[in-house]
């Protein structure tokens, strides 16, 4: 009985979470379209607290905070989703090929991923956007280029596990190329872990976008992002605290929701999150006789 009640409660919670996330996404994508334009552009009351006319107050240039927030949500979500998609595509192609390739190529490819992991990549992204000017495209490419590394590892491990399954041998024996085998046989199998990983990664990427925008390295000023709104709130935190509270609070709430969703999805689909499975350090080393090890690239 109590099991049933608990499960029902959990299902309801999941449903509410889903509604919250989907609702947020829809509002972010469409909100700015339906927003009363005469409110979005007003300039008279500068940095005013919440009122009936401006539910969330106005910002330092007299723009309605709600309108700004909707725009910021759209930017951050757009960049976040785009970069995650880019990462999935890059990661699955790279990881898939490494998994299918011979031991030497695989070793070399995964060693490359290791080097990528050792880079302080956030700093490279900061350099990239601060040198080449701020634009949404650059931002999304830069973040996507960072996020594909763990996905490549996940896909490679999955492919490695499936490599000797009969259906794959059959596909290869029929003369299927690497690309064909990946597309037609492997990706459908790897869909579940990929989806879970993408969900877990989405809040991280969105936070990175907001992080860069907060530092003033994100989108250009007339455009808003969640990060620039928070930055604005920080500047006016004593005279207009609602800007910080609205922007920061909504961002935090949204990220909490996304993290929770990733957790729930992982549990429901029964995918083990990387709690850091025990790695044998020796797997990193060369086999003393110089022959390749089966799983050389997996460790640290």
């Amino acid at each position: 009985m109590s099991m049933k009640v608990r499960r029902l409660g959990r299902d309801t919670l999941d449903l509410l979470l889903l509604i919250f996330l989907l609702g947020g996404a829809v509002v972010a994508l469409l909100g700015a379209e339906f927003f009363p334009t005469e409110l979005a552009g007003t300039v008279e009351p500068i940095a005013q607290g919440p009122s009936f006319r401006h539910i969330l107050g106005t910002d330092t240039l007299g723009r309605d905070m709600l309108a700004r927030l909707l725009e910021g949500m759209r930017t951050t979500m757009g960049v976040g989703i785009g970069a995650t998609l880019l990462a999935i595509i890059l990661g699955s192609i790279y990881g898939g090929l490494a998994g299918l390739a011979g031991p030497r190529t695989d070793e070399a490819m995964m060693r490359g991923v290791d080097v990528g992991f050792a880079l302080p990549y956030m700093f490279l992204v900061i350099l990239l956007v601060s040198f080449f000017g701020r634009s949404m495209t650059l931002l999304f490419i830069a973040l996507g280029l960072v996020a594909w590394l763990p996905l490549a590892r996940v896909v490679r491990a999955g492919v490695r596990n499936l490599r000797h399954e009969p259906f794959l041998e059959a596909a290869r024996m029929m003369g299927g190329s690497h690309g064909y085998v990946l597309r037609a046989h492997l990706f459908p199998q790897l869909g579940t872990p990929l989806v879970v990983y993408a969900t877990l990664m989405l809040p991280v990427v969105m936070m990175q976008e907001a992080f860069l925008s907060f530092l003033g390295l994100g989108v250009k000023p007339p455009m808003a992002s969640w990060g620039t709104l928070v930055a604005e709130g920080v500047e006016r935190m004593e005279t207009a605290p609602w800007i910080l509270i609205v922007a920061g609070g909504s961002l935090a709430l949204w990220l909490i929701g996304l993290h929770l969703a990733g957790d729930r999805l992982a549990r429901r689909l029964n995918v083990h999150r990387t709690t850091g499975t025990p790695e044998k350090i020796m797997a990193v080393g060369p086999a003393p006789d110089g022959q390749d090890q089966e799983d050389g690239g997996a460790a640290s």
Partner: protein, 350 residues
């Protein structure tokens, strides 16, 4: 953990020094390319970027600009600049800072390193206390599990740049308890350390809870419980010890989080640290400082990864045994190769 001394076939006894263990050699083998890639990548980024440190936006006569660029070698071909840069780096110099020409880039960075390290280490302390404490509590007191998980999730999800300003607004300005920004006294460390440590601590709590819950189910832990060991003793003596290697693995990602977060924390609290120095220099195109900062960060990450590997050897006797055998095999292989080479040389000679 000293492996037995190995006698070379030349007869002399060679002390099996740790620095030459294959594990470290292996680490070095990835570390050097990594450093190389970082230097090259940052160099290319700086040179490929449109505009420059002495760009058009600053007003100066053409002759003056040419003079300055000549002074820093910016008028040379790029490959020459690159080679020069490496040459300087090998003797431990990054050249003068572009922004503060009277100081060396390393000098600028070293000055920022102190505050950054203080904030980073105290944040690490905060994260460890929160993470280990919260995780252990959640495992030992099942009633507290939901509270801990929710708190950990919230802590993990709230970005540093939201948490920091909120703390400043409500604790420093609202309650007037602690200084809101700047640097100097120990009380200036508290808020930055909390800001940086709480999110990392949340992630750590989740991780530690999962790991500990798994190792407490191990046969030896069940046996210990059957012998009547108290719960805290059980965790302290058995489960935590079993989970320690996994915790070590987690330090890498944790450190990356701390280092990245430190940039934004230093900006929020106006701390004269390396992270802020990095951002300012990136925006001002102070190339030597930027490359140097990236290099130092990468170096810290590499050193920590290596230390983590070595402490695995200290913690896990199975790995130690494996490593000793592996070292032996590696030595044997090298000896064989040397002997073969010598034989080949002799046969050529005769």
């Amino acid at each position: 953990m000293a492996p037995p001394a190995v006698t070379d076939n030349t007869g002399e006894e060679r002390a099996p020094l740790l620095p030459f263990s294959p594990l470290l050699r292996r680490r070095l083998l990835t570390a050097l390319p990594t450093l190389f890639v970082i230097v090259t990548l940052t160099f290319i980024l700086t040179r490929a970027a449109p505009g420059g440190p002495f760009g058009k936006e600053r007003e100066m006569p053409e002759a003056v600009r040419e003079n300055i660029e000549h002074r820093y070698g910016l008028d040379r071909p790029v490959y020459e600049q690159y080679l020069r840069f490496w040459g300087n780096l090998l003797i431990g110099s990054l050249g003068p800072s572009f922004q503060q020409p009277e100081r060396s880039a390393f000098g600028v960075l070293i000055e920022g390193l102190g505050p950054s390290l203080i904030v980073g280490l105290s944040a690490l302390l905060v994260a460890l206390i929160l993470g280990i404490g919260g995780g252990t509590l959640a495992v030992l007191r099942p009633a507290s599990t939901p509270v801990v998980s929710i708190a950990a999730l919230v802590a993990l999800a709230v970005p540093v740049f939201v948490l920091g300003p909120m703390l400043v607004r409500f604790v420093a300005i609202g309650l007037g308890l602690l200084p809101a920004a700047l640097w100097g006294s120990p009380s200036h460390v508290v808020l930055p350390a909390l800001t940086l440590g709480i999110p990392v601590g949340g992630a750590l709590a989740r991780f530690w809870r999962a790991v500990l819950a798994e190792s407490i189910e191990l046969p030896e832990c069940i046996a210990a419980r059957a012998r009547g060991l108290g719960e805290w003793q059980l965790v302290w003596r058995h489960a935590a010890r079993k989970s320690l290697p996994l915790l070590l693995n987690y330090i890498g990602p944790m450190l990356a989080g701390l280092v990245t977060g430190s940039v934004v924390v230093e900006k929020i609290f106006s701390i004269p640290g390396m992270g802020r120095c990095f951002i300012d220099s990136a925006l001002a195109r102070d190339y030597p400082v930027v490359i140097g900062a990236t290099l130092i960060y990468a170096f810290i990450l590499l050193v920590v990864h290596t230390l983590v590997d070595l402490s695995h050897l200290r913690l896990d006797p199975r790995l130690r045994k494996e490593h000793t055998e592996w070292t032996e095999a590696d030595r044997a292989l090298r000896r064989k190769r040397r002997a073969a080479a010598r034989a080949a040389k002799q046969s050529r000679g005769t």
